[in-house]
Structures are given as structure tokens and as C-alpha cells.
Amino acid sequence: MRLFEYEGKALFSRYGIPVPRSKLARDESQALSALGEVGLPAVLKAQVLSGGRGNAGGVVLVRTRGDAEKEAGRLFALKVGGEPTRALLVEEASEHGEEMYVSITLNRGRREFVALASRSGGMEVESRAEGAMVDVPVPLEGLSDSAASELGARLGLSGKTSAEFRSILLKLERLCREEECELAEINPLAVHADGSLIALDSKVVLDDNALFRHPEFSQLPPEDPLEGEAARFGFAFVRLDGRVAVVGNGAGLVLSTLDLVADAGGKAACFLDLGGGAQRDRVEAALRLVRGLPSARAVLVNIFGGITRTTDVAEGLIDVVSERPMVPVFARISGAEEAEARALLSGSGVPVYATAQEAVLAAVGEAGR
């Protein structure tokens, strides 16, 4: 679960990491009253989870109240990567020089957490030369003072900046460990003229599987109503913008079906994994859910029956396709009891194909490319 910038900064504050004075605004009038507290000049920052906010114009420096009024209206109407602005963070403008980067993140290949840092942070840090990044492994029990100092020394930091960097790195690591984050990132970490440091942005990704140990985070409702519905049934669901809704049992199977749809010149409207034990009621719930996707013109159901009984799937399909309105359903059913499932579906209006490729071609043909 990714936190909004303002949520991440609230965590930073709790762990003693310095952040600029700020106030969250849910609408334009709140934004203007927040200016009264924060003062001018100020930075208005659209609160979205999608990347590329800066390039999309989601962060703006305002010097006058008139500017702020105009920009707040624009930012509340802004979408970044299709995601609407939920709120604005109104923040005091910070006079600073150098912008650094620091994060604690899981290195999957090395199977350990690492601390990463660079003297050149800011936008698009990922695409810069890797040579500028330095890293140290983070033991499960936490980063030692000496390892934190070492990282600062490798960046060539000295004096006040070096001491502050070490202190912030250790706090960030403790936050990452105690809150069980997959990523805790400060970018940029700005250097003031006096050598002190301040976290100008936050990117915090929590380990979803550890939320049971952190109930304070698990209350946030999903942003997308269909995602909420999917979560209620325990489906893995990703909304996409094509015309073929893809439903199957197993993450890898659905992923490979998405590729077949793309190969056939189509575009998927969603990824929906029913999970193991796809019983009749779950199949029904999944089909009713994908019916709510405005872009879907066809539904492709790809089932490999192992422990899942394909006759259960067939019965679920029959129950839902008789309902109106319903987009056409195309099925590929293979595995345990497939002949019985096929017999059940004959005359139901759901064509059943022997291979995923055939079902994909039919669904893409119906939905259009």
C-alpha cells in the first residue's frame, strides 16, 4: 500500500525527520485558508499516488494569493496518469541548494533491505547513471551507526550535513523497519545554506501482508469502488482501459491471457484473478464486477481446472449470463470435468473453446481492437 505524500510526511515527523511546515487542503477554500497559516511564498502539491507528478504540473510555487487561487483551481481539476487530485498539500517554500536522494528499500535479488543514497536527487532519479548511487545492506535488526556514517562518507558529506544525514538515515531506517515498509524514500532531501537537511517529499510503500500488525493503516478504503468490491471477495484485480475483461483462476494464468489478448491486437479491460477454489458464487461475483467496467465490450474467462471444479465455474457463468445487461462472455475451460462443464454451457450462449488462443481471438473479434 502506497501512502500519499502527506501521510508519509506525517510518519516522517513522528520519527523526527525534519519536513517543511504544511497543511492539507481538501478543497480550494481550505487551500486558501491554509495559506494564512503557512505563509507566502508557498508550494501547492497535488496529492496523487501516480508517478510523474512533477512533469504533469502537479507541483507549483505560488508567490501571491491571486496566484494561489488560480493554481489551486487548476490543481484540483488536474489528473496525473488518469488519477484525480484528492487533496492539496500547502507547504512553506524552502530555500535550498543541493537536492539529495535517500531510501531504504527491498533488494529482491539480494534478498535483503538496502540503504541507497545519492548526491543528485530530484525528478527522474531512477533514470540517471547508477554510478551516482551508493548503498549499504540493512540487517534485519537495523542499520548500525557506523554503516550510516559510512554511507554519508561515501557521498563525500562533511560537517553539519554529514551529522544530519546520518541522523535522518537512521530514523528513516527505523521507520521502514518498525512500520514494515517495502520502501521508505526521501527525494529530494534538500540541503539548506547552513548545511541542515529537510525532507521535501515522501514515498512510503507499506508491506500489505504485514498490515495485520499495523491496524492503524488498514482502515483506508480503496480509491476505486470496483477495487473495493474485488477486495471484498478476495480477487486480485487491476483496472485497465481496454475492451476485453480478462477473468481467470491464477495470477500467472490471467497474466499470460493478457499477453494473448495483446498479441491478438486487443487490449484488456481488467486483470481479475479469482484465486484458488473458484466456486459458483465467486464466479458470479467476478462477472457482475467486470460488468461495471465502462470500457468492457467482451468478457474472456480462462479457467484451468485442477482443484477448481470446472462444472462449478460453468454453473456460475450460466447464472450470470441470463442477467441483463450483460456483455458477451467467451470461455476457455480446461482440466477436471471439462466435458461436463462444456455440456452444461451448451445452449447457454457462452461459447467454450478448447484453447486460450481460440477464446482470445473470439473475444477480441467481438470487442473490436
Partner: protein, 291 residues
């Protein structure tokens, strides 16, 4: 670090056997011919599930049966303690079916394995099957698997079944199939599985089913070259059309920037000399070509 698979008839315990899932699959494993000798659920000792005696602790189950392998169906918060208990009781191979395990618990399990020489496969895995030994330590549908010389390693469950089914129908049976798990970090990596396959005489060729996210396939490709892996290898990568920064079902199936893309994995594996299938249905033909 290497590991050993149980032999035919070796006793196996099931941790979490009294749950709905644990009892269902204990029965299916028994039906396949696997010697499920004991179950463990704290507080349920003395019960019998599918004809299998249940104990309160792994220690008692091990003392009673001599089992050195365990299949775990415990809830996610209980997985790390269950692994610790099993290792302390002398279990050497644990197959962790449990999904939604916190990443730090998995990392702690890996460290415990490194210290003790024990082995965990998973978590979030369909398990391990060795058809010639009638050994099924997991939840995979047995009819899709046949005895033969292919070693099949997969990050995905259903795709492993689908590919095994296609191989079996093409008379390409399997010596072993291992699901390494769909999480960002696997206690046993595909690279470690490859070393196991290199040393196993029964394995004549390898099929790897990978997917987007992480760099396990890139590391595998490097290892194929460095270790001069001596057997033909066919790979398939799911997720060529997946969007970035979205978890595609598995916690591990996510692309960040250029990290974890299918293109990178396919290119690395091709450079290492692997045959890469574009779709799962192409795999059997590539395997028979390779032999």
C-alpha cells in the same frame, strides 16, 4: 546451498492439517501415494484427520514418525513461528503453501535456513511434486503431472499446472515440478532449483515459467552461463503486456521503471542460450526440439 528431496514413501507431516485447506490437501496427497504420517495443529493433538494422527507440536510428530519434511498450511501470521518450530524439531525440508506472508518474516526464514542448513520452498507456492516417487508436497492437481525427465520450475501455480498438463499430453513427463512462489522474495530461488536439476541424473531438460517483477530470471540467465548449465532449457515469461507499477495478482509480479520487465528477462535468457516460448502452448514443441 544444495538440498535433498524425500524418497518414495518417506514420512511427511502437514502443519495446519485441521484447517479446511490443510485437511482437503492432506487427503489429496495421501490419495496420490504420499506418506502423510502426521499432522500438527497446536491445541488439536489427539484428533485424527483423513486417518492421520494430529499432534500439538512438530517435535512430537517428528518423534513419532521420523519425518524430515513438512507441508505448511498455517495462517500467514503463524508461518515464521511454524518454520522455526519445524527447524528446531529437525525438519529439513518445508514447503510453505501459505500466502500473504510479510516480507520480513520471509527474510527471517531465509536467515534461519542459512544458519541451520534447512530448506524452505515458498511461501505462496503450490508446492513440489515428484511423480516417479509418488511424492506430492502441495496443492497441485495430480492428473496434470506424469513421470518423465523434465524439471519444471515456476513462479506461478496455475501456469505450472497448465504447462505440466501440456507437457504430459505431449508425452514429456516430469521428474520434478517446483513452484518457487509468487512473492517478491522466495526462500528457494529458481537459480537454486537449477543447481538441483544440474545434479539430478533423472533430469534431462528444464522448463522455467517466469513472470514480470524482480530480477530472478536475469540472475538465472547469469547462472546458466557461469555454471555452464549442461542441460537444455526452455523458458516462458508471463506479463509481456502488463502495465507498470501494478501488482498483477502475485505480490512479486510488479514492474518499476525498467526493472522487472518481460523484455529484460526474455533478452537475458536468450543471451544465455535458453529457448524462449512466446506462449505456453509453444513450450512442449521447444522441449522436444531441445532433446
Amino acid at each position: 546451498m544444495t538440498f535433498e528431496m524425500p524418497e518414495k514413501g518417506d514420512p511427511v507431516i502437514v502443519q495446519g492439517i485441521t484447517g479446511r485447506y490443510g485437511s482437503l490437501h492432506a487427503g489429496l496427497m495421501l490419495g496420490y501415494g504420499t506418506n502423510v504420517a502426521a499432522g500438527v495443529t497446536p491445541g488439536k493433538g489427539g484428533q485424527v484427520v483423513e486417518g492421520v494422527p494430529v499432534f500439538d507440536t512438530v517435535k512430537e510428530a517428528v518423534e513419532e514418525t521420523g519425518a524430515r519434511a513438512s507441508v505448511l498450511f498455517v495462517p500467514a501470521p503463524a508461518l515464521l513461528p511454524a518454520v522455526e518450530e519445524a527447524v528446531a524439531a529437525g525438519v529439513r525440508l518445508m514447503v510453505a503453501i501459505t500466502e500473504h506472508v510479510p516480507i520480513r518474516d520471509t527474510l527471517k526464514a531465509i536467515r534461519l535456513c542459512e544458519e541451520s542448513g534447512a530448506r524452505v520452498i515458498g511461501p505462496n507456492t503450490p508446492g513440489v511434486i515428484l511423480p516417479s516417487r509418488r511424492l506430492k508436497l502441495g496443492i497441485m492437481p495430480a492428473p496434470s503431472f506424469r513421470e518423465g525427465g523434465v524439471a519444471l520450475f515456476s513462479r506461478s501455480g496455475t501456469l505450472m499446472y497448465e504447462v505440466a498438463d501440456a507437457l504430459s499430453k505431449a508425452a514429456l513427463g516430469q521428474h520434478v515440478a517446483i513452484g518457487v512462489g509468487g512473492d517478491p522474495v522466495n526462500c528457494t530461488t529458481i537459480t537454486e532449483c537449477l543447481d538441483w536439476a544440474a545434479a539430478a541424473d533423472e533430469v534431462r531438460s528444464v522448463v522455467v515459467v517466469g513472470e514480470i517483477g524482480g530480477d530472478a530470471e536475469e540472475r538465472l540467465a547469469e547462472h546458466i552461463v557461469e555454471s555452464r548449465f549442461p542441460k537444455p532449457l526452455v523458458a516462458y515469461i508471463a506479463g509481456r503486456s502488463a502495465p507498470k507499477e501494478k501488482h498483477m495478482g502475485h505480490a512479486g509480479a510488479i514492474i518499476y521503471g525498467d526493472y522487472g520487465t518481460a523484455e529484460s528477462k526474455i533478452a537475458s535468457l536468450k543471451r544465455a542460450g535458453a529457448k524462449v516460448a512466446t506462449t505456453t502452448s509453444e513450450i512442449p514443441a521447444l522441449v522436444s526440439d531441445a532433446r
